[in-house]
């Protein structure tokens, strides 16, 4: 069973979003996503400062199996990236909600976060996908 923390928001494309105290959000991929992809061997992150649209490709994760796009959960500007992943992509497998975070985004409109899935809705979606 994959881990879906209740305090995060989610996208249908398996990203998670956490609100930070400074008004930014932290983004990564879910435990379910990393489990499907298998051992990570490379993570390509956007340049800080890049402007993203909601749903836009913003990173690539490459596992032993395949390359997969990561999509921006909301519109905004990349204000920080997790540079440790460059040498330690396996953190995405080991701690997808912790040390495996990918980027921090300053949302153009914080209200967009409310449109994302909550933990229960995301859980329901991955159960649907399994059928």
């Amino acid at each position: 069973m994959s881990n879906i923390p209740a305090d995060l928001s989610y996208t249908k494309s398996h990203e998670w979003v956490r609100r930070e105290a400074d008004g930014t959000v932290t983004v990564g991929i879910t435990d379910h996503a990393q489990d499907l992809l298998g051992d990570m061997v490379f993570v390509e992150l956007p340049e800080p400062g890049r402007a993203l649209k909601a749903g836009q490709e913003c990173a690539v994760v490459e596992s032993v199996k395949a390359a997969s796009d990561v999509y921006s959960p909301l519109a905004g500007e990349v204000v920080a990236i997790n540079e440790v992943l460059s040498d330690s992509p396996e953190l995405v497998n080991k701690a997808p909600y912790g040390e495996g975070w990918m980027m921090r985004i300053k949302p153009a409109d914080a209200a967009e976060i409310d449109d994302l899935l909550d933990a229960a809705a995301y859980q329901a979606q991955i159960e649907n996908e399994a059928e």
Partner: protein, 365 residues
């Protein structure tokens, strides 16, 4: 639902992630593909390869038949107990499959062919066998377990004791012994020492558990693929197929043109290809930048396309991406591979990348 090997329940109980492979539900990994890879390079791992197709050929003229059927020369096997890697070609010189031939008795040979090509292989072999009155019999009731790694032979002998004692006599790779119900070959698909054991399906789970008990860890198809790629071993369907010849797939060493009188299927086409010259080269690539090489990525030199990756992936032993690629003619100097619109530098090398636990390519620091 796919076909299941006799070890299916064992894999489920071990927490394997199962995937479809050539119509079979097979373990991709049991947790971490990369750890399984290292386990085989450093110690010993085991693979369920029961999906592979075992075919016994019997008849007075079975040797004549094999001299015709396959591109390598079975006369290299002087005595029973020898095994030979070869391609089976069509009349155009394309590869129908790659396989291992085992010389059991002068009138009995065994073939192990790929699972994904089973139907076409059996149809082709059966059709060709008619003229030689050779009996073709699939041995679907047999399972097959590959135990691979520097400790594989020791651990197998410890786990199975008396029943594999005779296998200690296997002094060289590509030899085998038959001990009761077990057919034990010193072959593999990882670049490490070890055994491949064919045995009755009913005994597979017991043997697997005995091996597990001495610390032979299960490994899935994921690790099998990265191990064979590091070892520079071709994968049928990716590195060669019915429209590519062994000469342009790094397999010229498996084609026996001598003696010139041996008329194997595909010979005329290969000779014509050699005479025309300009046969594509098959090379290894190591990615110097970060990223992962994948099948079908384009290889370039001076901005021109010179070839394509046939098998690419991440090499756990090198910590870099590696690939096998088919390129136009001899290549030297700097090359690039296009990954998501970017050109990344690769070094051209001669496979293998890794054999017997040792890295065989020299890379810039």
């Amino acid at each position: 639902m796919g076909k299941r090997t006799p070890l299916y329940d064992t894999h489920l109980a071990a927490g394997a992630k199962l995937v479809d492979f050539g119509g079979w539900d097979m373990p991709l990994h049991y947790g971490s593909q990369i750890e399984e890879h290292h386990q085989v390079r450093r110690d010993a791992g085991m693979f369920d390869v029961s999906h592979m197709t075992i075919v016994d050929l019997r008849g007075e003229r079975v040797q004549d038949f094999l001299r015709h059927l396959v591109a390598n020369n079975i006369d290299k096997l002087k005595l029973p107990g020898g095994a030979l890697y070869t391609c089976m070609l069509n009349a155009q010189g394309g590869v129908i499959d790659d396989l291992i031939v085992y010389f059991v008795e002068p009138r009995w040979y065994r073939l192990v062919v790929n699972a994904a090509t089973r139907d076409k292989d059996l149809a082709w072999i059966t059709q060709q066998a008619k003229a030689f009155a050779v009996e073709v019999r699939e041995r679907a009731e047999l399972a097959m377990i590959a135990i691979q790694g520097p400790q594989a032979r020791d651990k197998t002998q410890r786990a199975l004791g008396d029943i594999v004692r005779a296998a200690t006599a296997l002094q060289k790779p590509f030899t085998f012994v038959v001990v009761g119900d077990l057919f034990i070959a010193r072959t593999g698909y990882t670049g490490e020492d070890g055994y491949e054991i064919m045995l009755p399906a009913t005994q597979a789970a017991t043997v697997w558990q005995k091996l597990a008990a001495v610390g032979v860890a299960p490994a899935g198809l994921g690790a099998r693929d990265t191990l064979r790629l590091e070892a520079g071993m071709n994968l049928y369907g990716s590195d060669m197929d019915e429209i590519t010849s062994p000469l342009e797939s790094g397999l010229a060493w498996t084609v026996a043109f001598e003696p010139a009188t041996r008329d194997f299927i595909g010979r005329a086409a290969l000779e014509a290809q050699r005479q025309r010259g300009a046969v594509a080269e098959f090379v290894g690539l190591v990615l110097l930048d970060k990223g992962v090489l994948r099948n079908h990525q384009i290889v370039l030199q001076n901005g021109e396309k010179i070839g394509e990756i046939t098998s690419g992936g991440f090499s756990p032993s090198l910590g870099r991406a590696i690939a096998l690629a088919r390129v136009n003619g001899a290549v030297s100097g700097d090359c690039q591979v296009e990954i998501r619109g970017k050109l990344l530098d690769v070094q051209v090398v001669k496979p293998p990348f890794v054999r017997n636990g040792k890295i065989c390519v020299t890379l810039p620091a």
